[in-house]
Symmetry: D3
Subunit: 136 residues, 6 copies
């Protein structure tokens, strides 16, 4: 009997989309205004889904306080009010699209969770553009 | 050809988290302010997903009025403006965590739905903490 | 390594629910006020989920601008500010329930997307009533 | 000591914007797709604000159940799942723009409320277009 | 040149509506299920509006961190995960309707803010029922 | 008889808060992580309220298409996917706090609107922090 629990956290960050192997013409053609050299930014909403059995002692799948602390330590304290391209090492050589940010976050969180849990994350870049990743 | 239909309902309830086999010290360490002996409360949002084939006569998977009536009869009329620990028999001996409430609601609704439907529910305790259960 | 990307679009339309093979009595009994002969309407929210591998050159599963243009061409420009029963050919002989609209939209979008992508859509008729279809 | 209390209700309706004294060319130039002869529709959200003193016996400005019943009787039961142009007498000769709908609703509600209350309403035609009217 | 700044905070609490000078019959007739002797609860959303001139040195009307700390100290740490009737002294003899809670919160915050600011608060008991108070 | 009409638009931008006349120590003490030299960013939601009489010919206070075009020309095309400090001339010497951005936007829009209208704007920096300005 498995239940999914979800925790929503937020971070506000600047970024720029760019492939350094391409000319500026190609970068502008593909990424448009997302390639602004002075960066733009977003309020990112992150929803973390952890699925597993209910602990009969607590009635919890996982203590939300513990899950929230893991997300803060691995993600929000490292990304919030930062420039993803310049301040966050994992995007030094990786284009910070929503897709790539989601994969990086998933890997960071996966390493901190017991193997009895499955993990899926949803990342909103805006209310109209968002992504989901479950490691598969 | 299966389609999922979703219906959102709400109930407002008081509850308290506690394991009666534990000392107060352990209960406070695990459940913190959720163990307030005088209770606290939430606006719960419940989203019920019913999946099945479209009836070619109606164009419906299930009549939303019927689904809404089932949810009201089984859940909202029994939980709304109630104290889950004191007023709702199924939580007399079961800690009313979001996980446990979801499993109880799923079982109540499952018994009322035809076997051609699959059922999943999502229960929001707050905008930031929610759970999902599909019987598996 | 597959990621889902989601794009939300909107359209505002009039419709009426009715089975032309039934008497008015039966139609009223089944569809109630949704069978108003003068129509009523909704703000429909459409969320399109496209799942596939991340292109290592762009960091995108699919360019959201391209996905948005496909949705506009296939759905919103054809449905927005229209009467679904009278103005949209695919509902001339198909009851425009949320379920049927979702299947029609899925088929329109499926034909425009590369086979390496899987497709799921969610359609909100109201905040409380919505449907999901993934072609299975 | 005055407090404002707000109650949110909803109705889903079809409408068409048109000035019958104008040519079709002028109507199309001014109202565009909102002038579709077959109508389109919206999920309208209505927020009613009643301001007045707190009754020391109840702690209420006005009983929300009573306010909700007035809104239902005067507005939602008359507008919901209707065609505003064809089914609602007050728009037979009045263009059902959000502005005009708000003024009509305000007048209907005003006549039912004690003079010790002031009244303001907000009407959402979409999440991005809404209006407010307070009788002044 | 005055600007309003708004800060949103939340608290989850249990409460019960009741006039101790009335019979149970009258209380039930007026307050209905809100008079459940075992309490029910809500997720309260509180929006605090502070209006004043922009400080030319900071570009702030008030530092949001300071405003948030005042709200936490005066309101959320005292009300969150509490029973308003039993745990919060100001409601020992005051019916905790949304109106009365708003007036109490306004008075607590007013005493902590410089007189150059005006103060208004909005309190959501549910998404559909909310109140506003500005001290007048 | 005046009605307010509201139009919501969005822009996503990077910014940094800083007073160039202060030491870095003071800037960090006052602005904290908002003073990150590499910038951070937000999804800004802008709600523009225009109040005036209803034109009896159209039923409109102002054509929402015209209002939306003014907002796009004056605000969103100039701020969206930009770095407010580096790319937008009006913030070269003005700290881009939400308060200051709101005043600048209000002035830009005011100059484009007929004097028969009054103007108020609300700017959301996040869901929890927002500001309002009406020119007074």
């Amino acid at each position: 009997m498995n239940v999914s629990v979800f925790r929503k956290e937020r971070f506000n960050a600047a970024h720029r989309l760019r492939n350094p192997e391409w000319s500026e013409e190609t970068n502008n053609a593909v990424f448009g205004k997302c390639n602004n050299p002075n960066y733009h930014g977003h309020n990112y909403d992150l929803i973390v889904e952890v699925r597993g059995p209910i602990d009969p002692q607590t009635g919890y799948v996982i203590d939300m306080k513990i899950l929230s602390d893991i997300i803060k330590y691995e993600v929000t304290e490292r990304y919030d009010h930062r420039n993803l391209n310049l301040d966050v090492p994992e995007f030094k050589d990786l284009n910070p699209t929503a897709e790539n940010i989601a994969v990086v976050i998933w890997n960071r969180l996966r390493s901190r969770l017991d193997t009895r849990y499955t993990l899926k994350i949803r990342l909103y870049e805006t209310e109209r553009n968002f992504v989901e990743y479950d490691g598969q």
